[in-house]
Each structure stands twice: as structure tokens, then as C-alpha cells.
């Protein structure tokens, strides 16, 4: 099939605008009434005083269904995840209260006044830092996504899970993280020549520990104190967390208490038993830190309906890549037979959510909606078949294949594997 030329898409939109919005309008006749009681004709909100100020603003009560979806082990309520409702959000920044969560043993309560960060191991001088001291260092901000290595893991299963887009693929969020470049602190301690890794440890109830290549910590790692301008939320690592742009969630250690420089990785549970990828030959890939290029149509998506037939719908979604910037997102309405370039919201940032959109005319036809991202290195997001051909069918982590929404002739939307 051919690419739909941009011109014809514009023409179509103008036509609908004319026939839809302007048809049937006429000027209301002004009555000569002299004494109008405006309270009868204005919305109530205009005829009374509103609510007072608030110390900390909350979302509108009308939006109280926009929530993270929690899935935890009933025997260990602190072990599980909560998915970000990506299908309900717009723009690129995830609000702090809706940033996804993955905890291994709950959210710890840490008083910053008693929290210590220790940098030791293969350094000239082991150093400890208080949170107050860290706030005095130059603060650097970085907008980037954090994606759990296990995001979309249900897509490895042989049948598609019928849940809203965010509740299957929303273990990824995007925020502006602000804090101290980790390299300043490492340099202050003095890095020994044989140091190659750092073992990061958290102060939570799992004392989570993972090994991180020193090279990354010296590159773009941030010891984050702030999330979207305010201090970190407890569930996002308060009082301090590592942010390693583009790398899987597990190494973005929350509640950080220690960085111990070592020569070799420590082979902790979360870098061997978990977050590794079982390949078809029975061996496993380890240290797959970089999250591969991926995209997701957030609207329309599973569970939504298309009310008008024919109608124009604003197709939109998110693309991101651990390798750098998104350079292109294509959208298909026929299960990948033909593709049209979507518009990318500017600015496009490296290792951050990129919002894409494209108006789509639906005329009641069966459709399969897909998006396909390409990053600045030329890497193209694979189809599910291509991913399985490379990685086998026993994967669990690091799923980045194309995600498909089926639109039925009556306008209902389902998650499908069209391959």
C-alpha cells in the first residue's frame, strides 16, 4: 500500500471541520430583556466564591480515576509494581504521583537528617555525605525516562493481555531529575586505577544491591534529589536515588546509601537471577543495561472506543530510546503493511519520552494500529516476530517490540499480536 500524502490528509481534515463544526449554526436572537438574573443562566461556579488555597495542590476530584494500577504479591504487599496510566496522560512529563513503581520490599521511611551516603572501596579516601551537603553541590537537571527492565513482560506470553496500554506497558515514566553529577563525588573521593564497577546499595527493606559500570557513573549519572522540581517522592527514592539515563530501572537505585568501587561486578541476585535474558540456547544475557528503542500508541488504545463513524481521531503515543534521540516514529493502521510518519513534539530529547501524533480518519473499517520508532543510530523498533526470532520465546525482561491495537468495525479496541 502507498503512503498517504500529507496534502490529502490536510484536505480531509478541512472538509470534516467544515461539515462538522460549522454546519447548523445560526446567531441567537438577542432578547430585549432588561432585568436578567444571571444566576439562573450562568454556571454555578460563576455565581459563588470558590474553594480556598491549599498548601499542596491535588488533582481535580473529577480525575480521581487516573491512577497507577497496583499489582503486588498478597503475601508481600511491598513486593510488586504499580503501572503508570500512560493511556490517560498527555505531553511527555509523568506527574510525580503517577510515576511507575517497582519495589522489592516496600517504600522505606527515611529521615534525610539521619541518612548517610558512603562512597568507598577502590577510592583514595572513603567519603560520607549528608543530604544537606549534597544539596550544596552544583545541581544538574536531566529530563529522561526510567523503564523497568521487566516492562511489558506479559507481551512475551503467547496470548496478548487485555489491559489498558499503561497497565501493560507503563513500567516506564519520564521526569526531570535534578541532583549532583555522580562523577563530582567520585572524583572527590579519588578513583583508584583498578576500579571498574561500583556496587550500589539501597537503604530499603530489601537492601537492594547491584553492580554498575564505573564508566556510566562517570558519564551522565546523576545522584538525584529532585523529581520534576520538588524533592523526590518516597516511592521514587527519597532522599536520594541514582538516575542513569537510558538504563534499565534496577540500576537507577532508589534510597541509595552506598557506592563501593570494585574491580568486578558482585553478581548480586538482581544482576544474575533477575533482569537477565534467557536465550533460545539456554544461556542468558547479563548486564543488558541499555533500554532498547520502543514506542507505544497511548490513544486510541485498549479499552477505548471510537464514538463517531466516520470520525477523525488524534492518534498519539510515546517513543523512547536508551541509545539517544528518537529520529522518527511511523504509524500504521493496517497492521504494518503501510506506514505514515507521525509528527514529533519538540524538543526531542536524548533518552527521554518523545510524544508523537497523527490525525487519523476512521470510516468503520477493521484496523490494526501500530507505531514503530527509529532512533538516531538508525536502529528500528522490531516487530514481535523479529524480536522473538532473535531472542527466542522464553524472554521476560527487555521487551521492546511493536505493540498493536486492533480496532473492530464497531469501534472497540483490543490488544493483539497480528504477526
Amino acid at each position: 500500500m502507498k503512503k498517504v500524502p500529507l496534502e490529502s490528509r490536510r484536505q480531509f481534515l478541512q472538509y470534516t471541520a467544515l461539515s462538522g463544526a460549522f454546519a447548523g449554526f445560526s446567531l441567537p436572537a438577542l432578547s430585549a430583556q432588561s432585568d436578567i438574573d444571571y444566576r439562573d443562566i450562568l454556571p454555578e461556579s460563576m455565581t459563588q466564591a470558590g474553594a480556598g488555597f491549599s498548601n499542596y495542590g491535588q488533582p481535580s476530584p473529577y480525575e480521581n480515576k487516573i491512577i497507577r494500577w497496583i499489582s503486588a504479591n498478597p503475601d508481600t504487599p511491598g513486593n510488586g509494581v504499580s503501572w503508570s496510566p500512560l493511556h490517560e496522560l498527555q505531553g511527555t512529563i509523568t506527574p510525580n504521583g503517577l510515576h511507575f513503581e517497582r519495589h522489592h520490599n516496600g517504600v522505606p521511611d527515611i529521615d534525610p537528617a539521619t541518612h548517610t551516603l558512603l562512597i568507598d572501596g577502590l577510592v583514595d579516601t572513603p567519603l560520607s555525605f549528608t543530604v544537606e551537603a549534597l544539596k550544596r553541590y552544583p545541581q544538574q537537571s536531566r529530563i529522561c525516562f526510567i523503564e523497568c527492565g521487566g516492562n511489558s513482560n506479559s507481551s512475551w506470553r503467547s496470548r496478548p493481555v487485555e489491559t489498558a496500554a499503561g497497565y501493560t506497558h507503563g513500567l516506564v515514566s519520564n521526569a526531570e531529575w535534578t541532583g549532583v553529577p555522580v562523577k563530582y563525588l567520585l572524583q572527590e573521593a579519588g578513583i583508584k586505577n583498578n576500579a571498574k564497577w561500583a556496587v550500589a546499595e539501597a537503604a530499603d527493606g530489601a537492601s537492594l544491591n547491584v553492580s554498575i559500570p564505573l564508566e556510566k557513573l562517570l558519564d551522565d549519572a546523576i545522584l538525584a534529589l529532585y523529581q520534576n522540581g520538588e524533592r523526590l517522592r518516597p516511592e521514587n527514592g527519597y532522599p536520594l536515588r541514582l538516575v542513569l539515563p537510558g538504563w534499565e530501572g534496577i540500576v537507577n537505585v532508589k534510597w541509595l546509601r552506598q557506592l563501593r568501587l570494585t574491580e568486578v561486578p558482585v553478581m548480586s541476585r538482581d544482576e544474575t537471577a533477575q533482569y537477565t535474558d534467557l536465550m533460545p540456547d539456554g544461556t542468558a544475557r547479563q548486564f543488558s543495561f541499555e533500554m532498547a528503542t520502543k514506542s507505544l500508541i497511548t490513544s486510541p488504545s485498549h479499552g477505548m472506543t471510537l464514538p463517531d463513524n466516520p470520525g477523525v481521531y488524534q492518534l498519539t503515543g510515546l517513543a523512547w530510546s536508551g541509545q539517544g534521540k528518537i529520529s522518527r516514529v511511523e504509524v500504521s493502521a493496517d497492521g504494518g503493511q503501510s506506514w505514515v510518519d507521525a509528527e514529533l513534539q519538540q524538543p526531542v530529547l536524548s533518552k527521554a519520552f518523545t510524544r508523537f501524533s497523527l490525525p487519523w480518519q476512521w470510516q468503520g473499517q477493521y484496523a490494526v494500529l501500530q507505531s514503530r520508532a527509529t532512533d538516531e543510530t538508525g536502529y528500528v523498533q522490531p516487530s514481535r516476530d523479529e524480536l522473538f526470532a532473535k531472542r527466542g520465546s522464553h524472554g521476560f525482561f527487555h521487551f521492546n517490540a511493536i505493540i498493536s491495537w486492533e480496532v473492530s468495525e464497531d469501534g472497540f479496541i483490543y490488544h493483539v499480536y497480528p504477526d
Binding site: 504479591n73 503475601d75 508481600t76 511491598g78 513486593n79 522489592h104 520490599n105 548517610t116 558512603l118 562512597i119 568507598d120 579516601t125 572513603p126 567519603l127 560520607s128 555525605f129 549528608t130 551537603a133 549534597l134 550544596r136 553541590y137 552544583p138 562523577k183 563530582y184 572524583q187 572527590e188 573521593a189 578513583i191 571498574k196 546499595e201 527493606g205 530489601a206 537492601s207 537492594l208 544491591n209 559500570p213 564505573l214 564508566e215 562517570l218 558519564d219 552506598q258 568486578v264 558482585v266 553478581m267 548480586s268 541476585r269 544474575t272 537471577a273 537477565t276 534467557l278 533460545p280 539456554g282 544461556t283 542468558a284 544475557r285 547479563q286 548486564f287 543488558s288 543495561f289 522464553h394
Partner: protein, 174 residues
């Protein structure tokens, strides 16, 4: 080798950049004393570094497991709300691979490290070293990775060869 070269390059390239960094006061406190304390030395390496004194056997471990672990991992360490810990050795290349401690984990030292810091979830660090060695012995002996009467301690635990010891290949550095 590759890591060493690229690391040196990173360090070198930082030098000129550092001059252009904003000025800041170094506020780290010398902390050699902390570094030596047990609470800052939780991590245990495959070579056994960090393992505490103490010892335990599988028969002791069975009892402790039933008391502290079976509620979630199942009696026999299979079939609870939490993942199975034993069995399925040799299944990884099959049509139905199962990742358990015994089938998948490359190092036995990781088991001690993880149990101490994370299990049971309601009371991490509540078990003593003897109990943790015994739990390791119980889990490992279930699949014959160690003999039922072997005593695990700081010397013998790092000597255990896990069935999937060579099953991992690092994708970093590329």
C-alpha cells in the same frame, strides 16, 4: 581489557572538562572508620569475601525453611505464592525452561547475600549466620548440588559449583 582502556579514556577526557565545571566546595567527610563497619560491608562476592563466621547443614536448614520460608515458597521450596527455589536443573534450553536458584543462579554466595538482606520480607536480617548457611545447604542439597551432610561455611560455600555457572554472557561492554 576493553573496559580498562575505555575507562582511562573517560578519565582523561574529563580533565579538561573539569576546569569548566562550576566551582564547588568538597563536602565529603573522610569515612575510613565507617568503611570497616559490618553495616557497610553487607555485600558478599563470589570469592567468598564478606561471608561471616558460622555454619549450617541441610537438615538444620529444612527446619528453618519450614518455619520462616515455606509459607510463601512452599514446603520443599516449590509451590507457594513466591517463586520456586529448587528443581528444574537442566531445563533452561528446553521447551519449558524454569529459572530457580538451583537451575539458574551462577553463584551460591549470592544465595547467602540475598537471603540475609531480603528474606523473609517481613524481617530482613532477622536470621543469624548459622541459620542462613543452613538454609543455603537445604536449598542446594534439594537438587544434589551439595551432598546432604555437607556443612556450609565461609570456606565451603564459595567452593560450591552451581549447575549454571557458565550460563551467562555479559552484553556489557558491547
Amino acid at each position: 581489557m576493553f573496559t580498562r582502556i575505555s575507562l582511562t579514556m573517560v578519565l582523561l577526557s574529563l580533565l579538561p572538562a573539569l576546569a569548566a565545571q562550576p566551582l564547588y566546595q568538597p563536602l565529603g567527610q573522610p569515612a575510613s572508620d565507617l568503611s570497616d563497619k559490618p553495616e557497610w560491608n553487607l555485600t558478599i562476592s563470589p570469592d567468598g569475601q564478606g561471608l561471616p563466621a558460622g555454619s549450617g547443614t541441610a537438615s538444620q536448614g529444612k527446619h528453618i525453611f519450614e518455619q520462616h520460608c515455606a509459607a510463601c515458597h512452599g514446603f520443599g521450596a516449590i509451590g507457594g505464592s513466591a517463586m520456586p527455589l529448587v528443581g528444574e536443573v537442566g531445563s533452561l534450553a528446553s521447551e519449558y525452561p524454569e529459572k530457580t536458584v538451583n537451575s539458574y543462579w551462577p553463584f551460591a554466595t549470592t544465595l547467602f547475600d540475598y537471603i540475609r538482606r531480603s528474606m523473609p520480607p517481613s524481617a530482613p536480617f532477622s536470621l543469624n549466620s548459622n541459620e542462613i548457611y543452613a538454609l543455603c545447604a537445604y536449598i542446594l542439597s534439594q537438587d544434589g548440588i551439595i551432598e546432604a551432610d555437607v556443612e556450609l561455611n565461609a570456606v565451603t560455600l564459595p567452593q560450591v559449583t552451581m549447575p549454571n555457572r557458565n550460563g551467562f554472557s555479559a552484553t556489557y561492554p558491547q
